[in-house]
Amino acid sequence: MIKNYFITAWRNIWKYKSVSFINIGGLSIGIAAVILIAVYIQSEASYDHFQANLNSIYRVGFSSGLSEDPTAVSSEFTAPFSEDAQKQFPEIQNHCRVSGSHEAWTLYGDKSIKTSDLKYADDSFFKIFSFKITSGNPQTALQNPFSVVLSKTLAGKIFGKTEPVGKTILVDGKTNYQVTGVTEDAPANSTIKYEALASMSTLYHDSTYFMGWNGGWQYSHYLQLSDDASATGLEKKFKNFLYDNFNQKFSTPSQSLAAHLQPMSKIHLYYDESAANTRTNIYVFSVIALLILIISCINYVNLSVARASSRFKEVGVRKVLGALRIQLVKQFMGETLLISFISLVLAVGIAAALFPIYQDISGSALHIQAKELLFVSAFVLLLMFIISLSAGGYLAFYLSSLNTVNTFRMKLPKSGKHILGNVLIVLQFVISTALITTVLIVQVQMRYIKNKPLGFDKDHIVVVSLTGSNAQQKAIMLRQQIAGLSYVSGVSAMSEVPYDNITQNGFLPEGRKDYLTIHQLDADENLLKTLNINLISGHYFSDQHMVEADGYIINQALADKLGWKEPLGKTINRDGTHKVIGVVKNFHFASMHDEIGPLIITNKPWMNEYNFLVIKYTADNPALLISKLKDIWKQNTATAPFDYWFLDNAFDTLYKSEQKFQLLFFCFSVLSIVLSLAGVFGLVLLNIQYKTKEIGIRKVLGASVVDIIRLSARKFLLLIVLASLFAFPAAWYYSGTWLQNFAYRISMQWWMFVVSAVVVLVFAFFVISLQTLKAAKAKPVNSLRTE
């Protein structure tokens, strides 16, 4: 019996190749997309789950002032917090401080390797967290000052096949560290990532680091609480603790800090800087996965039902031969199951084949562990069953409920079924139109932020990092020598390069009682000329006005914020009083997500050392320039490594996560649009096949080819117009929500909506015309003979 069913199913699949192709192809591509999206979501949702102590680890978040905005919470604070907290509160079993990332050059033998992610951590690191240490002693590895633990990858780069533990490396050309351990690389789905971990105790031996309560805000504090401890209880106790140690001494009441506990399991999705973004992505891709699934199922049901009339005879014959209804239901369910199974196998193949590309595009190194893999597989199996049951079930009950005698007459029952079919088609059109609109809006917005003038020139700029104190001290000498090179039109030294936000500090402007947090950029006299930033009023720092080196340049945004109509001559206080000597036009120093904030440019860098040299060049090919820069660098700084990058490239990376999102969104949307249009294509195909006779009769009665095309096109076109009525508001709403992420955004235009409707219209019309044309051109004698 099963064999008989299987054979019929298989031969039916073969017989209607084009429809089966759309059916199985669509279903498998759909399932593959859902698998990939499920992997992504699973990977995001299982962040940090490899931590054995996951449920007892908390990170401390610090919020300032009375602001209730959860995104204003920073996880970085001064060093003594958790150390002192553990002494005072017994519920804290362990604490571990982890510093922010440092860029560092390591030297071993004659090999100089750069790491962009050196962090300092307490010796409790391996006790609290579950990072695997492969050599060295996890208890003591981070105990002594000047110890460093390397990740496997970095260790490989530095040492090759030599055993690293016990060796000494020179960091940034000034300090020797002993390698005390090697760990597996931090998993991709870990909040804490590192290439190298140096012992926290080192910092207490380095005078450039401030380890007291009132400075050096760069340490994340992780606490492991005892089993019976209450997180909320501890949070309450932090209030007095922070008051005693910090707020009372260093903060104004309106800006006093509060500490919150962030459960480790929720950090990635709720407390990380990009958490909101991650959640949006998960949400968007879940919706898309769901849409793809719905489309696949609709295609399946629609095509199967449309094709069902060709199975009427078979159903009738089987009934006459004694088939019970339940047997027919089983047969058709089985058939769907077979198709789903074929699709599933194909889908897994497609997903596996696409996985590396997908990983590349999505950028987030997708990390799937055995447990999660099981989950995804189970999910896919469940999916398959749902598809089979819903799509096959409908078909099965529909076919088997038909009256035996009627099935022989090969008539489609008129009522009801067509309405459902139309609803499903409209749904397809709604999804396609809405997605095309949204894709269009996302594309336009991304173009907009890439092309919006920044207020300064980012092209033809090369940046040299001044690594090591030797280089920083020689900054001015380097600058002079570089300025003398041909093809160099400007060189400027600065504390930070304006592209990915700038440090903020507290300032007290004239007429204010409270400190304001304002971005601060320290730069030399050449900044404006090199980056082509416009001065609105006053004048900039220059060699001629040495007396005013003490003054501040502010941007228009700050003047606006303070309500200063005539900013020149006003004063701002920080470590003394500074006069405003100039106002610059607003320029973007952060991504378009943020509005241009208030900015102060000073001529006095911290410790009198600049961090970057920014060089404007005129040559088309900077290769020669780079080699000359390298020569100058070597002559002046000896061992310090030469590190350079191009500013326009840096800007490109700024929107990396958006671009990834954009690309993935684009791919999956195009996929669902194609699937949905393929469904329409299949339906039209079948619709016209059944209308062959009608078309024949009409031709005999004198209808022209155009008449016939008009006749079959009209219904579909009406459905598209109807669909647009639903699609537009949905697209408007969701695109609008997404655009809210940007401080600088396009406004939605009517043409964006119309274009997508027209695309769908044109496509549908094309398919319909093509298919109808075939039928309409055929000789009526042939089509009428089928009866």
Binding site: M1, N4, I7, T8, R11, N12, K15, K313, E314, G316, V317, R318, K319, V320, L321, G322, A323, L324, Q327, T404, V405, F408
Partner: protein, 221 residues
Amino acid sequence: MIELKHITKWVNSGGNRFFLLRDINLTVKEGEFISIMGPSGSGKSTLLNVIGMLDEFNEGEYNFIGQPVHQLKEKQRSQLYKTHIGFVFQAYHLIDELTVYENIETPLLYQNVKASERQAMVSDILDRFNIVGKKDLFPPQLSGGQQQLVGVARALVAKPKLILADEPTGNLNSKQGEEIMELFKQLNTEDGVTIIQATHSERNAAYGSKIINLLDGRIEK
């Protein structure tokens, strides 16, 4: 074997009632070969469908081998006709996706016959109808006569007591038609299978032992 009493069937259309069968009284004994004749639309097919339990009737009683069909549930009816009745259609109604062998085997599947037994029964009938060589072909690869031969073979494979044939030769040329009719005759006389056929053709009707004329749903006396 078959006893129809006052069978009436109608359909309602736009407030009017159209009678398809009117007060049919018919008794068929085992071993009879009955031809039902009448013009198009006289109710021949409807009557066959009612006898075959494929269609319902509105009034009257129907007893089949002593069982009151009008009182049976669908499942019981299905059980009854699938074991006792074989159908032959004008348009053959073979399943295009199945081979000759598989088509003939299908009724046995629905009667839960064991695989080995099934094979024997199908082989028997293929042999008897001289179509062993065609067993792996699909229906569209056969001529009309051959397809109908398969149709008859399929109707007979489960060894039914009754064959219902609706215009079995309607789509065949005269020579093919004659062969099928000869086959029916032989089945009737040699195997004692009861046959009821509906036909337009006087010549085919003459193969039967009894002719019933239908007009507008009534048996003409």
